[in-house]
């Protein structure tokens, strides 16, 4: 799949950084403002989809190969499971919010508060973003075998 014209390439190379930053903001402030891990992860994936549509598949293959995307996906899922198991080790019950209840309560309405909720948001955002980028990349590079 080839890319688009030079105007689209110039604008999208400026805009993709803003979209990525917005996705990170939605994930990090998920416990204070609307948003959370799911919406932020989908926004992260859509910034890479914009680059793929504007520049072509080969450009994205150099920056984020599909093998690294699938490893990031597994890392996000593993991190989420680790937070749950650490709740069992430190807190006594599976998946309990052990950081808020024992170690670091923090003040309400600050960025550092609510225990494991920001960490879970980061893990889920990583997982959802990498998965959705992987599936759209695989759908676009599917080249059927030619039957002669």
């Amino acid at each position: 799949m080839k890319g688009m014209t030079i105007i689209v390439k110039t604008i999208s190379s400026w805009v993709k950084v803003l979209i990525f930053l917005f996705g990170i903001y939605i994930i990090l402030f998920g416990h204070l403002t609307p948003g959370g891990g799911f919406a932020g992860g989908v926004i992260l994936a859509s910034s890479y989809v914009l680059v793929m549509l504007a520049f072509g598949k080969e450009f994205v293959e150099e920056n984020l190969p599909s093998s690294i995307a699938s490893k990031l996906d597994c890392a996000g899922a593993f991190l989420f499971a680790m937070i749950a198991i650490l709740g069992l080790v430190f807190g006594g019950t599976f998946f309990v919010n052990f950081i808020y209840q024992k170690y670091l309560p923090g003040e309400a309405l600050n960025l550092i508060s609510a225990g494991t909720i920001p960490l879970s948001n980061i893990a889920i955002g990583l997982k959802v973003g990498a998965s959705l980028f992987l599936v759209i990349f695989t759908l676009s590079t599917f080249r059927p075998k030619e039957k002669e």
Partner: protein
């Protein structure tokens, strides 16, 4: 009356998924059904002239949540259920479209009546 309109949207999607014979139309029917169900769940939790369930600085008095906030907020539980349902519908859409693409590549058509007659 709004519930009835939402149910009518669901029935339109069901009609499309059952009667049409183009595979992508069936996928579109399932997608319309998913939109209708998410909308219905959020409509169940609405309070007239309510506010969104997010605590701001003006809702706290002396560290506790004020009574005005508790008596005028909408229900947060259906919103939590619908949030995961929307992302799952995207995953299942990707799976259904990949099946359609594979079937088109093997049989050359999107028509399900022709696929039943070809064997092997």
């Amino acid at each position: 009356m709004l519930y009835a309109l939402c149910f009518l949207l669901f029935m339109t999607g069901l009609y499309c998924a059952v009667v049409k014979k183009n595979m992508v139309k069936i996928v579109i029917g399932i997608l319309v059904m998913e939109y209708a169900v998410n909308l219905f769940l959020i409509m169940l939790g609405y309070r007239t002239n309510g506010i969104a369930p997010i605590v701001g600085r003006s809702d706290l008095e002396a560290g506790e949540i004020s009574e005005l906030f508790i008596s005028s907020t909408v229900d947060p539980l259906p919103q939590a259920l619908v949030l995961t349902a929307i992302v799952i519908s995207l995953g299942s859409l990707a799976l259904m479209i990949s099946i359609c693409i594979r079937t088109y590549e093997k049989y050359g058509t999107f028509d399900i009546t022709q696929i039943r007659r070809l064997k092997g």
